[in-house]
Amino acid sequence: MSAVNATPENLNGILSGEDIAPPPPMPTATLPARRVPYFETESGKHLVENTLTLFRNTIPPLLGMLLFVGVRGLISHSIKNIPGPVETWTSAVALFSDPFYDNGPNDQGIGWNILNSLYRVGMGFGAAAAVGIPLGFMVGRFDFLNRMLSPIISILRPVSPLAWLPIGLLVLQKAEPASIWVIFISSIWPMVLNTAAGVQRIPQDYMNVARVLNLSELKVFTRILFPAVLPYVLTGVRLSIGVAWLVIVAAEMLTGGVGIGFWVWDEWNNLNVAHIIIAIFIVGIVGLLLEQGLMLLAKRFSYE
């Protein structure tokens, strides 16, 4: 009998379980003591549970990677200029066994190239944060400034980062500061916009606290604005570092010098395709690490 057939007459029976057949009587003779199998004990069940969780968490990503390598192998099989996974792996091992050699400006270890790119990103991104975050606070806090700047931001934000390179070269005269300038101008917008949005979305209650207490502008900033907006700022920072790392490869291809972007271009000129594939992986992994690092930072500062 199921509860679907419940009528007032038999409802009590259903609720009290009276219409459920009684369990068969247990055999009265005592069974000989049986050793409990390991997987039925508490620790055994734990082990099974943990193993299953481990499989659930690792098998799908592993399969994904396998599929990726397989497809890549297939492509390199059918297109003859693209080296296969094994060839790429051996040349990656060779590359990373000596990452910090220095044979003059055009032939340096992969470590130097990565560090140089990171340095440029750090400079451009740092400058963008130093300008963009305070600017975002002001745009969010003062409506006049918001109305004044939003048309300019709307026009400049969608401009492709590399379109700024000629201006940088013209004004700064050198390749190095010009690429830092490109990073700066392309990674500033997410920080300005997110910070401003954060300031505008502060709950009115918090601002009323500030008003009732007559807090000074400084106290309003340190005790209310800054902590309330910090999660938004960190979102902006995360988006910006992503953009900055995307842009550096393209910028370095055009400006030259030591850096992962230029290295890709150099290896293309040498027709060393294995190195190009390695470079793609390096760019991806470094970008992932940058973003994950900032995610950790953001978690540390979220208060909810």
């Binding site: 209650d205 009323n208 009732v212 207490l213 807090l215 106290k219 208060y303």
Partner: protein
């Protein structure tokens, strides 16, 4: 003799996209020092607007509001506010939330140790000494509301303004906090204005109940003096015929005379 607080011909007109909206009109009320006033009315009658006028969070478009012979211009710590959703800063501990207020009001005249002692005393008053290092997210709704009250009281305000302070709490917690509030107000002799929609709460706590007509253009419909002796005990009052008579008067105003907004307006 002039009253401690005076509201004279106050009115509030909001400019909205659809034109002008008159929320309050012709509000006249005198408030005595140490008096507990409850504002009651149907939702949308502008009782919170009136409270915000006294708080200074809104500026009256007509009339004047005076406190101790000074016109109310903008918000200030001498009129501290407790709101329904407590408005604690979630990144500060309960101690820091209260301390922020204490520091602002007394920071100029007292030492750091004195400020800390004041903060601790305010938390003790609401029975939350043990939760001083907790963040608002880590304590219950009733405890948060008590921190809000501690913060408001720690400023030693001339007037304590409360906007449905217990509205979001369950009945048992609410009763407990009402009892605590009565004790605290008896001890501190604070002047209190409280917005509520709970008839029992209004009769239990207040000296006078200000009953508002329905909006728009709401005004004070009737004022009821609650002459029950203090200290009041909710259990004894449950059997007190005078308590029930007062309660009936408020209910009659709310549900018989102000039931249909259009006829009342």
């Amino acid at each position: 003799m002039q009253s401690y607080g005076q509201i004279e011909n106050a009115g509030m007109v909001f400019s909205t996209k659809k034109g002008k909206f008159t929320a309050l009109t012709d509000i006249n009320l005198n408030i005595d020092e140490g008096e507990f006033i409850a504002l009651i009315g149907h939702s949308g009658c502008g009782k919170s607007t009136l409270l915000n006028l006294v708080a200074g969070l809104l500026d009256a478009t007509e009339g004047v509001l005076l406190l101790a012979n000074k016109e109310i211009k903008g918000p200030g710590p001498e009129r501290s506010v407790v709101v329904q959703n407590h408005s604690l800063l979630p990144w500060l501990t309960t101690f820091e939330n209260v301390h922020l207020a204490v520091e602002k009001v007394f920071g100029g005249s007292e030492s750091k140790a004195q400020l800390k002692a004041r903060t601790a005393a305010a938390l003790e008053l609401v029975g939350l000494t043990h939760a001083a290092t907790k963040l608002p997210g880590e304590i219950s709704g009733g405890m948060k509301q008590r921190v809000g009250i501690a913060r408001a009281l720690a400023m030693e305000p001339k007037v304590l303004l409360m906007d449905e302070p217990f509205g979001a709490l369950d009945a048992l917690t609410r009763a407990h906090l009402q009892d605590e509030l009565m004790k605290i107000v008896a001890a501190t002799k604070s002047t209190v204005i409280m917005v509520t929609h709970d008839v029992d709460e209004a009769v239990l706590l207040s000296d006078r109940i200000v009953m508002m007509t329905n909006g728009p253009a709401a005004t004070i419909g009737e004022i009821l003096s609650v002459d029950l002796p203090r200290p009041r005990d909710r259990l004894a009052l449950a059997h007190d015929p005078h308590y029930h008579a007062l309660r009936s008067q408020v209910l009659e105003f709310l549900y018989s005379r102000q039931m249909r907004p259009k006829e009342a307006a």
